[in-house]
């Protein structure tokens, strides 16, 4: 298992953002759904080792991120795209991806090729030397994805990765996810249920800091038959599960 979570909590002041989460995931694509404020981003940030949990057990890639050495090893094998991507406007696309490749302690000799591959896989090959300040929002999002995948991560965490992508790019992105999920654990946090349905083998639905559903997209769709609200089966299943959890 690349991802083992038991009783994980995270508190910010008086707010319990993550209120006890149990989750296990191996290679494959896991979709993380939930309304705003459900705790998805906080959970993702804990998986990314950006913030420590308040309590509970977290094991990533068979290591405990609580100690510096294992945490460093996890980070070498980790890719993370935050919800709000910060960037350095003066960097070019290639420089930005190279910078994070270096920070991830990739072997320097492999970085140029890895950067090229990552940039090509996100369809930014023609913009490799463009300054980030000249890119559109969607392109910047793809730059964020490129830096997340440059080190061929075994654990890839993507928070709202398709925000700003046009439909064609989203289709290509789903194909990329499926390819990456063949050997890595990919966790995708998104509001777009169709992305989950198209790319994810496992779906987790969070609400108010807890997991209220953990299963396959098909099972989620089935939960909404006859009772959910929405235009698509997954949307109906989503709303039905939330309604049940809140009642």
């Amino acid at each position: 298992m690349n991802l083992e979570i038991a009783g994980l909590t995270r508190r910010f002041g008086r707010t319990m953002a993550v209120a006890g989460v149990d989750l296990h995931a191996g290679p494959g694509v896991l979709g993380l759904l939930g309304p705003n404020g459900a705790g998805k981003t906080s959970l993702l940030r804990m998986m990314a080792t950006a913030i420590p949990p308040t309590s509970g057990r977290l094991r990533l890639l068979d290591r405990d991120p609580g100690s510096y050495g294992p945490r460093r090893e996890i980070r070498r094998r980790l890719g993370y795209l935050p919800q709000s991507l910060g960037y350095y406007p003066g960097f070019t696309v290639a420089e930005f991806v190279e910078y994070f490749a270096l920070l991830k302690e990739m072997p320097p000799a492999r970085i140029p090729a890895a950067v090229t591959i990552a940039v090509d896989r996100t369809a930014l090959g023609g913009k490799a030397n463009a300054k980030l300040r000249t890119l559109s929002g969607g392109m910047l999002r793809r730059v964020g994805i490129a830096q997340a995948i440059v080190n061929e991560p075994e654990l890839l965490l993507l928070d709202e990765p398709t925000a700003g992508l046009d439909p064609e790019q989203r289709v290509a992105f789903r194909a990329l996810l499926r390819a990456l999920g063949q050997r890595a654990t990919v966790v995708v946090s998104t509001h777009l249920v169709e992305d989950v349905g198209a790319a994810c083998a496992q779906v987790v639905l969070m609400d108010q800091g807890k997991i209220v559903y953990d299963g396959t997209p098909g099972e989620l769709a089935a939960r909404g038959e006859g009772c959910g609200v929405g235009d698509a089966p997954l949307e109906r299943g989503y709303s039905a599960v939330l309604a049940a959890a809140r009642s």
Partner: protein
């Protein structure tokens, strides 16, 4: 985006991680995007407008220019370097990349150190370029001696410290107000540090702006006759290096900056840095002004430094040769021309000096920041007698041009020479005073007791000396004044009172043909000095 199958994942294969190469590539990225690159033109422009122009206006003496460059360059680079470093230190927070950088495998301290190194490298490159130009032009202009490297080293050592302080400020307080306030605060703190200096044993002279006794400023008389004493610069470099180490080590202390072992090592390094800086401050407090105008620190002092510099003087071809230290060779033509009328009057007379020789000055610390500068030894010594001269530039006061200096020499040393030949001084006879006055008139010097000669300069106003309680160079502030006979022997001899018999005798004696005057002096000078000649006996 493509779903092409990826190469084998890096995490599953043992690979060579080459930290040096990775660090070099990170540094290259940081160098290309450092804010200091954009601040360099600002720093260089400030350097040219202030330090370079001011320093080039000084005579081409290495000690003057090196010390002026040291304090000026640091002043010019403070704000740009601290501001740029603070800007870079706050970059993660401003650009919202904190999470991405936090989760990177490379220790955060290493990443921060790289950004600091890039800022410092550009600052150093800019400074070295400015130094090269200033020293290069000086080398072309200077008549003697070589560059002083310790002042350059102190200024260079300041840059990593300023960069570290700014970077730490930006990292700790990543606000948009941090860069400007840090830049101005650093400027103020450095300037304030010099205001607290009292005497040559002040701890505050550890400030890198200090190049010697603070209130005397760049002094032409220092490190010209005696070797440069590097004690204070050594302490300053030690202080700056210690402070830099302490600040950079402190950046590794927060949790998350690196592994525990790294943080422990950083704590030790920071402590060592603080110790070094504190020791340097303590050493500065033991400094004392030596006789040659430099700060000596006993624990750092090498007896070999501060020894006399062997030189061959440059001499004029006047009736009495005027010999200067070769570093002052540019002054010789004007000085000799200014003294020529006096020397022509006195040459060949009994007891006249055989040579006018520039001497080294002696420095003595007095109360507060006052420094007494005077002649080492008697004015006249040796057989035949040699008149020992201190050029006005060797005394405390504004740096002057060759013609201004010559004018002062003419009225100061010129009248003193005459008085030394006639024996005029306290207790002298009226006849001696009359002959002195007559010779001064004949040589074109102001009559003793005449209105003092105020030295003015084109397009400028006379101003008070530093430390004077005067807020504007205007009416009410004392002007720079030079009077006749204000030479190294002390107070000018009082001339004969107008209307007195001695005054009339002086006028008559001065009106004689030069040959007649000389003939009389050759015959009667010894008696005149012995006080056996009366006013009535003067022709």
């Amino acid at each position: 985006m493509t779903a092409a199958s990826a190469p084998a994942p890096s995490g599953l294969l043992p690979v060579m991680r080459r930290p040096g190469l990775a660090a070099a590539r990170l540094l290259r990225l940081e160098l290309r995007h450092s804010a200091m690159l954009w601040m360099l033109p600002v720093a260089i422009a400030l350097f040219w407008l202030t330090t370079y122009r001011k320093t080039m206006a000084m005579p081409p003496l290495w000690n003057l220019r090196a010390t002026s460059m040291q304090s000026g360059a640091i002043t010019d680079f403070i704000a740009p370097v601290v501001g740029a470093a603070a800007w870079m230190g706050s970059r993660e927070a401003r650009r919202r990349t904190t999470d991405l950088v936090t989760i990177s495998a490379r220790p955060r301290w290493a990443e921060r150190l790289t950004a600091w190194a890039a800022t410092t490298s550009w600052a150093m490159a800019g400074y070295l370029g400015c130094l090269a130009v200033l020293y290069g032009v000086t080398a072309h202009q200077a008549s003697w001696g070589g560059p002083l490297w310790w002042p350059a080293a102190v200024a260079a050592a300041s840059l990593p410290t300023l960069s570290a302080l700014g970077f730490a400020a930006g990292t700790l307080v990543p606000s948009r107000f941090t860069a400007p306030l840090a830049a101005i605060a650093a400027f103020f703190a450095l300037a304030l540090s010099t205001e607290l200096i009292r005497g040559s044993h002040s701890y505050w002279q550890i400030s890198p702006l200090v190049t010697g006794p603070w209130d005397t400023g760049p002094d032409a008389g220092v490190a010209t006759f005696y070797h440069f004493v590097p004690d204070l610069p050594i302490a300053q470099v030690m202080f700056l290096a210690g402070l830099t180490t302490a600040v950079l080590g402190a950046l590794a202390l927060p949790e998350g900056a690196g592994p525990r072992s790294l943080r422990a090592a950083a704590a030790a390094v920071a402590a060592a840095g603080l110790l070094a800086a504190g020791t340097a401050v303590g050493l500065a407090g033991t400094g004392r002004l030596d006789n040659h105008g430099m700060i000596a620190i006993p624990a750092l002092h090498d007896a070999a430094s501060g020894r006399p510099i062997r030189y061959t003087p440059v001499c004029s071809h006047t009736a009495i040769p005027v010999c200067l230290n070769p570093a002052y060779a540019s002054y010789l033509p004007d000085t000799a021309a200014a003294l020529r009328p006096v020397l022509d009057e006195l040459a060949g007379l009994p007891g006249t000096p055989a040579r006018i020789s520039q001497a080294a000055a002696t420095y003595r610390q007095e109360r507060g920041n006052s420094v007494a500068i005077g002649l080492t030894g008697p004015v006249l010594s040796g057989t035949p007698p040699v008149y020992h001269l201190l050029l006005p530039d060797q005394l405390d006061g504004p740096v002057m041009t060759a013609s201004e200096l010559a004018s002062l020499v003419r009225s100061g040393a010129g009248s003193d020479l005459v008085a030394s030949v006639t024996g005029d001084g306290p207790g002298a006879s009226q006849a001696q005073r009359a002959v002195t006055a007559a010779l001064m008139i004949a040589a074109g010097l102001p009559m003793p007791g005449a209105a003092p000669e105020i030295v003015r300069h084109a397009n400028s106003q006379p101003g008070p000396s530093p430390g004077a309680r005067c807020q504007r160079p205007a009416a009410g502030c004392p002007a720079l004044r030079v009077g006749p006979g204000a030479g190294p022997r002390g107070q000018p001899p009082p001339g004969p009172a107008p209307g007195s018999p001695a005054y009339a005798a002086a006028r008559r004696f001065a009106a004689l043909p030069a040959a007649a005057r000389r003939a009389w002096l050759v015959q009667h000078l010894t008696a005149l000095r012995a006080g056996r000649v009366t006013v009535a006996q003067l022709p």
